[in-house]
């Protein structure tokens, strides 16, 4: 049971990453691989600052801003120098690897016993119910502290989702979505597409870095490798979410992305529990996303095939 709770918590933390991917990939149709660097960037900022004694919430905020700067750089390289989106992302991601090592000072930075969001929540809970308080949930005995963390994460992520939905329905947010949907049209309506892309990719990487920052605080360390495969991970969440809620309004898609992240994390936890080799995790994620990307195309082709038969 406690493994399920942990999975849901990590799923919620990674849903911030998935929201970032949602913005770059779904809203802007921009395959942004900067994510793999900015995720680690967020974690590195978070860990390095907390080890130095900075307040964990401020550390998270600084990570968010750092991620935005990285994303803005990718957007800038793409729009100003007309470098292909993927390549722009690869350049920034590669550069970030060195940046992250500098921030952390080494490749793995643990923060044992440091003051994090989660240690604060735990301490607060201990003053309320005492240490090691257990509680029955569906017949299992679970640490009530984990449940509290789960609830707080859920609340925080829901708030973020609501905020993002509000943003994408404002005038500027609507213009951003239109930029990804029909650039020619929105340019003719007086929107500077370059600004929109820079802003959007910045926002996306802000969320990704925040996700990395919170994950580092949750697991108690930052690692320079922790961003690897994160883009595909986020894509999987976005795709699952879309499959669950369908192609509807932006609010549903945001909700679906969060749900997709939690579901995917749970799926992985169950698969690992059933004896899947953890080394196979990335290849299975990649295969999953590949399948999800080609399935709609294949289905359409089949339909076309049947149609032709009908006419014959």
């Amino acid at each position: 049971m406690s493994i399920l709770i942990t999975s849901v918590i990590i799923g919620l933390i990674l849903s911030l990453l998935a929201l970032g991917i949602f913005i770059s990939f779904k809203v802007f149709d921009f395959p942004d691989i900067t994510v793999e660097g900015s995720f680690t960037l967020g974690a590195a900022f978070s860990a390095a600052l907390i080890v130095k004694g900075v307040d964990p919430l401020s550390a998270g905020f600084i990570a968010f801003v750092g991620g935005m700067a990285a994303g803005a750089l990718t957007g800038f390289i793409h729009t100003q120098f007309r470098i292909n989106p993927l390549l722009s992302g690869i350049l920034v991601m590669t550069a970030l690897y060195s940046v992250n090592l500098h921030i952390m000072g080494r490749s793995n930075l643990p923060m044992p016993g440091s003051d994090t969001i989660f240690s604060r929540l735990g301490n607060f809970w201990e003053t309320v119910v005492g240490p090691n308080h257990k509680m029955a949930l569906l017949g299992w005995s679970v640490d009530s502290k984990d449940l509290l963390i789960l609830l707080v994460s859920l609340l925080a992520v829901s708030l973020t989702g609501i905020l993002l939905r509000w943003f994408f329905r404002t005038h500027i947010g609507t213009a951003m979505r239109a930029t990804g949907d029909n650039a020619q049209m929105i340019r003719a309506l007086g929107v500077n597409i370059k600004t929109m892309i820079v802003l959007g990719i910045a926002l996306a990487n802000g969320f990704v870095a925040l996700s990395g920052a919170v994950l580092a605080q949750y697991q108690g360390f930052a690692d320079v490798q922790m961003g690897i495969g994160m883009m595909v991970w986020g894509l999987a969440s976005v795709i699952i979410g879309q499959a669950v809620v369908g192609e509807s309004g932006v609010g549903y898609l945001i909700f679906g992305t969060i749900l997709g992240s939690v579901l995917f994390r749970l799926l992985v936890a169950i698969a690992l529990r059933l004896g899947m080799n953890p080394n196979d995790l990335k290849i299975i994620t990649a295969l999953f996303v590949f399948a999800a990307l080609i399935l709609p195309v294949l289905l359409k082709r089949r339909k076309g095939f049947f149609k032709r038969k009908d006419y014959a």
Binding site: T174, L189, G190
Partner: protein, 270 residues
């Protein structure tokens, strides 16, 4: 008032694919007039429209709109003065977004876009008023994605969106060419209605001579990157499709003569 002076544009200069699309185009549009641009394929009529819209910068020449030199303004900046409808009915609207959202985007053309709500109850009432004259029963479908509509409906909405804020200049780029004849006629009627009602200065590229004869008060006939004929006032009113056809034939013959004379001379002297 739009003044275009001595506009030149060469694509792929210095290569085998060099195209001299505009070779010194000059004209002035009076306020509130509707001008049709006719021309053979490759005469530069679409290039002219794109130059005015800002899709590229001309090599030489100036474009002045209401006393403001916009020659080197980027496309998005010109949009505060210019409304546009494209040839492709899919180009003018964002397919995955609702009708209401598209209209909301259009009502902010060229204006700063802030954190205000894109769609409110009050705006929706206005959208209803806007789509009512189309007679397409779109009032109840404001929240459905625009991609689900037909090409004609989308083009009508694009026209509505382009003219919503009464632009100083309305650019129509063969906006009925991709529609079936019935729908095209409807869209033309709508164009005529909006253009006369709001007295919009309009530049409309068309390949249909019938449209050019029926609509507007002026015809610019382009040929080989220049304005070959300019009909206004009573001349324009008296012009018939047959007259235009004859003029095109004349232009074509002139070209043919040029080529044959050139060969004749080369054979003789080179």
């Amino acid at each position: 008032m739009l003044s275009v002076t001595n506009l030149h544009k060469t694509f792929n200069a210095g290569t085998v694919n060099e195209v001299q699309a505009l070779r010194g185009v000059s004209f002035t549009l009076e306020d509130g007039g509707c001008t049709c641009v006719l021309g053979t394929n490759g005469s530069g009529k679409s290039t002219l429209l794109n130059a005015v819209a800002g899709a590229f910068f001309p090599d030489r020449g100036t474009i002045v709109l209401d006393g403001v030199d916009i020659t080197l303004w980027p496309e998005y900046k010109r949009a505060q003065y210019v409304g546009r409808v494209f040839q492709n009915p899919l180009s003018g609207t964002a397919p995955d977004m609702s009708i209401a959202e598209n209209l909301s985007l259009a009502l902010k053309r060229g204006k700063p876009r802030g954190l205000g709500r894109g769609i409110s109850g009050k705006l929706k009432e206005e959208f209803c008023r806007m789509v009512k004259p189309l007679n397409m029963d779109l009032e109840d479908r404001l929240d459905s994605p625009i991609g689900k509509l037909s090409g004609g409906q989308r083009q009508a909405l694009t026209l509505l969106m382009a003219s919503a804020l009464k632009p100083k200049l309305l650019l129509l780029d063969e906006h009925t060419a991709a529609l079936d004849p019935g729908t095209a006629a409807k869209v033309i009627d709508l164009t005529q209605m909006i253009v006369t009602r709001d007295r919009l200065t309009t530049l409309m590229v068309t390949h249909s001579m019938q449209q050019a004869v029926n609509m507007g008060d002026r015809i610019l006939m382009m040929h080989q990157g220049r304005v070959a004929y300019d009909f206004k006032g009573e001349y324009k009113q008296r012009l018939k499709v047959n007259d235009l056809l004859a003029l095109f034939e004349e232009l074509r013959r002139k070209d043919a003569i040029d080529v044959s004379v050139a060969t004749l001379l080369t054979n003789k002297y080179v």
